[in-house]
Amino acid sequence: MRDMLPDDMARFRRIEEVFRGCSLKRGYEEVRTPTLEYLHLFTATGTLTPSMLGRVYSFLDWDGWSGERVVLRPEGTIPAARLYLENFARGDITKLFYVENTFTFEETGRERRERWQCGAELIGSSLPPADVELMLLALEVLGKLGIGPVELKLSHAGLIKALLGELGLGAAEQTEIFDQILEGHLRALGEIKTEDVDLKRALALILDVTGSSPGFLENVRALLGKARPRLEPSLDNLTSIAQLLSAMGCPYQIDIASGRGFEYYTGIMFQFQLSTERVGGGGRYDDLIPLVGGPPIPASGFALYVDQLMSLVKIEERPYQRVLVRSQGNDVKGLKACFEAARFIREAGYLTELDLGRKGVSGYRWVLSVPTDGPFLLTDQATAKKSELTSAAEIVKIMEESK
């Protein structure tokens, strides 16, 4: 729980503006889902882990006598999938983005319970270029915010799931280990015993080596042995994405261990990292819309973590030249003159405030004294030059000239 102070809000808005601008220019449309959703939206898909659902803020609404709970939105994609299903034509490409807060309990209080994210979802395409388009959008936003160098790390949920299948684990165990990997405990995969020598070798390579080109994937493929046919589709998919990124001159690392996020990911998973800080991530979730109750529509998306970005983004100095307007008399006539002068100057594009009892004038370029009768007195704080002027138009003229 924390406040966002004016400086924080300036950073927040800067991030939001850049993200909105980049998204709108690529044809994404902005949406916002409600903060309060029904808990069953999140339980129905079966794609949030029990430990994640154990940390949501759920409670009985004022009409909750049925015992069904509502929840403060714990993540952005499932509500976006619901919104898509309820409101958009099925089948066509739909591109949505949002700036939203999410809520999850965090015991230590060190991390935040309310987090903000810039999210984008590309619904209706299963092709690698769709995934690449999302990654490029995120990188463009980060680039425009001056945040870098950002590492793009690739992993693949399909590949991990196929590997778990090859290791001969039961369905429940596969889910459990996949969840552990998504929570950052990849070593769980390395600890599984397997008799298959080829698979063991491939697994070691996947776990220990970070690839930086499609060539790495060819090496993995060569080592797989008889497990290869079942891993092939995922490897092909990852290869296509890697090839496209290479061709675009976009550096990346293939690091299976980097996979983070949600159980609903089915294909590529990508993370944006600045040294050790994760500033965003996303992935493909082709099964999610069917799980929410819709037809089989493929989709992928990402989120940029606004809270992390806020500490990294630089904000420009306020572009305005501030003007303070003071009344010399306190009668209605004098105050009216103040309000009118302030409005005129403001309309000319200056940040103009009325002096309502301020102690000093620091931070203001201009101070305008408004008498009950007689000329205005304009002081340029930068040069200490004072000018007597009779109309607001003259004031603006002087300001323009000394810019």
Binding site: H40, P50, L60, G64, W65, G67, R69
Partner: protein, 466 residues
């Protein structure tokens, strides 16, 4: 050192343990009217008797350094608040009971997965609502609702719930209600629990060693008892009018009322023979449940009519203002007054003075009550500003003055309150037994006539009584 002791189920074994280790307790007896037994061996030991369910909370918030209660209530608290200051200090070895997830044999489901597939929304009743929720999440139930209850979980399935989570010392009792266990959540025993901060700073070794708790062992996986439900017949209560009758204090006057009305009923006796008595009214079926649970059950259309108290109806409506439950008839018996009560030691004769004590004598006002929503509204309406509600499960008068400042409680004569050195500072309202129904079912054309018939009999009986 402060130690919280249980009433009820664990009382006699706990008393025996304390006697064996030579604590020499006075007034820790089942019928004792005192909530504060004393140890002649350790005069500095402060002891208080609570409902078992209250003890983990009291220890977790640091009101008590140590407590004795069942593991089930410890886990119920930890399921929702895993990071608190509650520490399991040792297994005391007695009071074993298992916590089962059960379904009705009539429903024909043999696993939790099956109920996830079968029901659009899995309705779960339990006294353990936090354990129920974490169970539902762990099992990945797609859609569920949890109806917290005060007791009598065994009578709910299949009509009023799909699953129930029940503590049972032996599974043979399941047979009476044709319940089939689907999973065992935990095996509970009496535990010694401690507050983490107390353990960290106070030397309590004398008590800890003399209570001789054994090490806490990891629970062994045990096979579920194999029970199969009776043949799936017609749903036992089909299209009947479902009437809920109260157990507890309201049972006797309700029995008398039925007698005056000339309605015969078998099995609704004191002590209770069965929670499914049969009534001599065509097309009406009966379940006996806690009056506290009735408004929520009627709101969910699990019952068409119920005899409960106006206090419990109000408590429900304060929480759920748009609930379809309404009072149909005041029955006139079981009159109590709902009052605001403080300890004689507190210099406050009315709620205004109490309010002024906040920030001075009292940092916050701790309001204890069984009526959580009535208490909350009372505190809000009276601008008690800094207050917290402490939900209790009976024996609330024991909370004052050490563990609460204000009590919202019912009283018949005020004698019990006076005996515990408590003073009434405000009267909230009078409450008596009432017949409640659901707006939606009252206008259901299939049920309307029969419901009106029952209401008519009740109304005539009331008229006869005066």
């Amino acid at each position: 050192v402060k130690l919280a002791l249980p009433k009820g189920r664990l009382w006699s074994d706990t008393a025996a343990l304390l006697k064996r280790v030579g604590l020499e307790l006075m007034e820790y007896e089942e019928r004792s009217r005192s909530y504060r037994p004393k140890s002649t061996k350790f005069p500095d030991l402060f002891l208080k008797v609570f409902q078992e369910k209250d003890i983990p909370i009291q220890v977790a918030i640091g009101n008590y350094d140590l407590g004795i209660c069942g593991l089930d209530w410890v886990e119920e608290l930890l399921a929702k608040y895993p990071s608190g200051d509650l520490v399991k200090a040792g297994d005391l070895g007695y009071g074993k009971s298992d916590l089962y997830v059960v379904a009705s044999g009539y429903a024909g489901v043999s696993s939790v997965e099956e109920s996830n597939d079968r029901f659009d929304r899995v309705r779960i009743v339990s006294e353990y609502q936090n354990l129920a929720e974490s169970f539902a999440l762990r099992q990945r139930l797609r859609r569920f609702s949890i109806l917290p209850i005060w007791g009598a979980a065994e009578v709910y399935p299949p009509e009023s719930a799909d699953l129930a989570i029940i503590a049972e010392t032996s599974v043979s009792s399941f047979a009476d209600y044709n319940l089939v266990p689907l999973a065992r959540i935990l095996t509970s025993k009496a535990f010694l629990i401690a507050n983490r901060k107390s353990l960290a700073k106070a030397d309590m070794s004398e008590f800890l060693s003399c209570l001789e708790p054994s090490e806490i062992e990891a629970e062994q996986e045990q096979p579920l008892p194999i029970m199969t439900g009776k043949e799936f017949e017609e749903a036992p209560q089909g299209e009947k009018i479902r009437l809920a009758l109260p157990d507890g204090h309201q049972q006797r006057p309700t029995m008398e009322f039925l007698k005056r009305a000339g309605i015969g009923i078998q099995g609704y006796s004191d002590p209770l023979e069965t929670r499914r008595p049969t009534i001599e009214l065509d097309g009406v079926s009966i379940k006996v449940i806690r009056p506290q649970d009735m408004p929520l059950q009627v709101a969910n259309e699990n019952f068409d009519l119920a005899i409960t108290g106006e206090d419990w109806l109000k408590d429900h409506l304060y929480r759920f203002p748009s609930s379809p439950v309404q009072e149909i008839l005041a029955l006139g018996f079981g009159k109590v007054t709902i009052v605001a009560v403080v300890s004689d030691d507190l210099p406050a004769n009315d709620v205004g003075v109490l309010r002024d004590l906040v920030g001075g004598l009292l940092p916050t006002i701790r309001v204890a009550s069984e009526y959580v929503n009535i208490a909350d509204k009372y505190a809000r309406d009276n601008h008690l500003e800094r207050y917290k509600i402490i939900p209790t499960w009976g024996a609330s008068e024991a909370f004052l003055p050490e563990d609460a400042d204000l009590l919202i409680e019912n009283t018949e004569t005020g004698e019990t309150l006076a005996r515990h050195n408590l003073r009434i500072i405000d009267t909230l309202f009078e409450s008596s037994a009432c017949l409640i129904g659901n707006r939606n079912t009252l206008s259901d054309p299939l049920k309307k006539d029969r419901i009106e018939h029952i209401i008519k009999i009740a109304a005539e009986t009331i008229k006869k009584s005066y």
